[in-house]
Amino acid sequence: MFGRIWCMVVKEFIQLRRDRYVRVRLIVPPLVQMLVFGYAATFEVKHLPIAVLDLDHSQASRDLLSRFTFTGRFRIAAVLSNERELKALIGHSTIPMALTIEPGFAALVRKGRTAHLQAIVDGTNSNTALIAVGYINQIAAQFSQDYARARIERLAPPVAAQVPQISLQQRPWYNPGMSSPWFFVPGLIGTITMMLVVNLTAFGIVREREIGTLEQVLVTPIRPVELMLGKTIPFFLVGLADVALITSVGTLWFRVPFRGNPLVLLLGTVLFLLCTLSVGLLISTLCSTQQQAFASGFFFLNPAFILSGFSFPISSMPRAMQLLTYLGPLRYFLVIVRGTFLKGVGLRVLWPQMLALAGLTAILLTVSVLRFRKSLD
């Protein structure tokens, strides 16, 4: 029995090596995705170009503006001289934000009146704008406090030290630099393997059916279970190799920490691979041509990807959509991957995800194995 499975596995690997599309699919998308998600996919806001219109030209106004560049979050990309320039700029350039300081700013600050800073924000990219607004608020609050304190020191020196000040001390756990690659790179382990394994499995079987070689295999003494194992073991191994590859590139090149127990990740990976293999197997039983397999694969992978929480948080989706996300295996696996990489948590925390993944795998595996045996008749 093992001899026959072994022969099947060897045959699959030879085919994998010979197929040009498979070779492309094995190498190009994972590489490109690693590069792009490691470098290009970022929700951080750094050196955001801003335009400034300082109509006051005072020490106070310059102090305020210099605080913007000092944080490293903003960079002054244009210095304007009148209101018209500003109107022509926002929406017509790559500068999404403009700050205006009206004449008389310093005088107001000096007299202890409330001065205004006008911020015109291009809201098209709502996300960048929201984060930038958060930073502006912080800068403004700090400026306010500093000047209020100076004012009190002049008005009532004895109580100046007692002005109540309440601040928020942020402690970002797991990802202290709030860096995007730390969020995306571990998640790639899930998305890349899911895409590869589902497609490879579905295609591998449908291809044999389409070109008629499945018939040839069936007349050999091989039994259906052996055939299925022989067909899926190679893709399981490819999946494992992929996980190992992305994990090493992620930790060594992108310096994403791995804080948990590798065995927990391995357990999750095995469950996840079994689950994706079953999906591939199931698709193969539903399709008779590679073209159909391709379309079905796409119709599964596309929603599975969008609804996994890979880049868009599940908690921000409407309730009904959130319920749908429970059907996808990637959702659970991403929690496991990010949990082991960044949080360093173990089974005590991750057991619900493991259990859900195991349950989903059991259902899919049963259905696909039953259907697969039937589709051979």
């Binding site: 002005v163 709030m178 908690s315």
Partner: protein, 378 residues
């Protein structure tokens, strides 16, 4: 170029699309599915952030601060714990994204020492949500702090205004409520165009080879250029139809503002479709197999469009070498034009850089595509 032959070619292609249920599904279902999935699923806003509170003091002051968090729509205070370890466990398990710790000497320090800090433990795993959460929390604490200061100023008979020397007035343009759906959904039109256009056009020539009808086609007097135009014209019409369908859904269902002109949308869409269909067609000529062609087509068009076009990830925040690469990604111009047409109401004149870039791409790809296919059996 004989228009009658082009029309005949186009009619043949349309009949084939109608006969093939899968193609029909791509034409109608795909745009619907895609826009509903992304319209609901691709949201970046952080509302109702699950929050856990450890109020060590439980005084009138600390409760007043907590009330503000409870009143904010950005926070959903799910748990009030009395042990730091429970807070840690809740954040570890992801049940809470934000953990607030109010120190045991909160009100005393506010009253006499001057400065006090509230601790916000944030699950930084998802750095984007974390950043938004911190921003909102800062705003809540800031508002509370300035009210406390005002009171203190009144008690000490100091002028009120001195408490707030600086106020920021925001004027947000184009996406006034800063909703992520208005940012994401216009870009999904580009995704639909890419999926539909690349998938269908990549099949055009490969299908003739696979079904063995290529010989018959070559035997007719139709020229290579007529074949290309005749085959791609129906997809151009379908693409325009899909773009309008998506726009109707975006505006009618998702309430995304559409401030530009339909005409502008059509101009950029037709140019973009020329590029996409041309690429799909060339791939179809080169691979001669339907499966291979559709896979290559997706690889070449979909990946750059989702990641490097500014669809969700802002181009100006990418590292400089990758920014340089994005100038080569034709979808970048279409995506930015779409967002401007929808939200800023830009017209053809405002969009000249995008239109120029798309025009260059369309003519170059068009030129290559006409030369790609030769009527021969080799």
């Amino acid at each position: 170029m004989n228009l009658r032959r082009v029309a005949a070619m186009g009619r043949k292609e349309l009949i084939q699309i109608r006969r093939d249920p899968r193609s029909l599904a791509i034409v109608v279902l795909l745009p619907l599915i895609q826009i509903v999935l992304l319209g609901y699923g691709a949201r970046l806003d952080a509302d109702h952030i699950p929050t856990c509170v450890y109020d060590q003091e439980s005084s009138q002051d600390s409760q007043a601060l907590l009330k503000r968090f409870q009143a904010s729509r950005y926070f959903d205070v799910r748990k009030v714990v009395h042990d730091y370890r429970i807070l840690v466990a809740a954040v570890d398990a992801g049940r809470c994204k934000l953990g607030l710790v109010i120190p045991w000497d909160f009100s005393r320090r506010v009253a006499d020492a001057g400065h006090t800090a509230v601790q916000a433990v944030v699950d930084g795993t998802d750095n984007n949500s974390a950043q938004l959460a911190v921003g909102y929390a800062q705003a809540v604490v800031g508002a509370y702090a300035s009210d406390v200061q005002l009171e203190w100023f009144a008690v000490h008979r100091l002028p009120r205004q001195a408490a707030a020397p600086l106020v920021v007035d925001y004027r947000t343009w184009f996406n006034e409520e800063l909703e992520s759906k208005n940012f994401i959904i216009p870009g999904t039109v580009a995704l639909v165009m890419v999926l539909m256009g690349a998938l269908l056009s990549s099949l055009t020539i490969a299908r003739e080879w696979e079904r063995g009808t290529m010989e018959g086609l070559i035997a007719t007097p139709v020229t290579a250029a007529e074949i290309m135009i005749g085959k791609l014209l129906p997809y151009m019409l379908i693409g325009v139809f899909d773009a309008l369908l998506c726009t109707m859904l975006a505006v009618g269902w998702f309430a995304v503002p559409f401030r530009g002109a339909i005409g502008t949308l059509l101009v950029v869409t037709i140019m973009f479709l020329t590029v996409i269909l041309g690429i799909g067609y060339m791939i179809s000529v080169a691979t001669k197999s339907q499966v291979g062609a559709s896979q290559y087509a997706l690889l070449v068009t979909l990946m750059p469009t989702t990641m490097l076009s500014g669809f969700a990830f802002p181009v100006d925040q990418m590292p400089v070498p990758i920014q340089a690469v994005t100038y080569l990604v034709y979808s970048r111009y279409y995506v930015s034009a779409l967002k401007k047409i929808y939200l800023a109401g830009s017209g053809v004149l405002d969009l000249w850089p995008q239109i120029l870039a798309l025009a260059i791409y369309a003519s170059v790809i068009g030129l290559f595509a006409t030369r790609a296919f030769r009527k021969s059996l080799q």
